[in-house]
Symmetry: C2
Subunit: 147 residues, 2 copies
């Protein structure tokens, strides 16, 4: 089982519990003759006057030997996908997030080197508990509940 498979389904179930519909698994973008695949596209209905909220999510396992190497790769994906989404007419309203497990968030992003990327608002995260299959926290916080 690949590292991707290991946390993909638990995260999808956590996102559904949080009121989201999965629209794309994966989300396909073709930019500058290059195919990019982001793990998930999802949407949910917010207050009626605001319509639908749409997101794109890359699920990161952080299972390699070097957590700093994983962080570089995740940050680079975030930068590239964020610019690619802006250039995709069908997806430019999607807000991009990295999904990371609670224990990775605690070790890497609260006190670890990843904290400098949150301080500077370089990344957006969805933190999830893979055992309980629940979303724990959005960074920045997502205040709009489902309708």
């Amino acid at each position: 089982m690949s590292a991707k498979d290991l946390y993909h389904e638990p995260f999808v179930r956590a996102l559904r519990k949080d009121g989201w519909n999965i629209t794309d698994d994966p989300l396909f973008l073709a930019i500058a003759d290059t195919d990019l695949l982001i793990d998930l596209g999802a949407e949910r209905v917010v207050a009626a006057e605001r319509g639908k909220e749409r997101i794109a999510v890359e699920i990161k396992s952080f299972l390699s030997k070097s957590v700093v190497q994983d962080l570089k790769e995740a940050s680079g994906q975030f930068m590239l996908y964020e610019e690619a989404l802006k250039r995709s007419p069908a997806n430019m309203d999607r807000v991009l997030y990295l999904a990371v497990r609670l224990r990775i968030y605690a070790s890497l992003f609260v006190t670890g080197i990843g904290s400098i990327l949150l301080e500077s608002h370089r990344l957006r995260l969805i933190i999830f508990d893979e055992d309980r299959e629940e979303i724990t926290k959005w960074i920045p916080s997502n205040d709009t509940g489902p309708s």
Copy 2:
């Protein structure tokens, strides 16, 4: 010979030809209990009233099987090192660049997927000719010559 070694010395010689002194090889940063190594630190004297111009450079070979994977890693390093430099009192004035070979620049950054990161000013590049051992171009352009 590692991919790093292959272009490290040609780039160092190109940078020296351009009037730069290598101050750190590698440049060491300790941030949030993590050690980061950027390939090079360099400086050169500009017009006397402006003092010294200082840079940090990560040399990227783009030699793996997937150029998009290499781009993600390079972009993530850039994001992480840029934030780390800001938090290093001894290095916060250094401007960060990725050094890439001319042929990689032409294939990946002029028309390829890397172009979206230049359009949006997410990266700074030093393009070099590894055979002639010369700097070809700075992005954004570096207008200050050596004094």
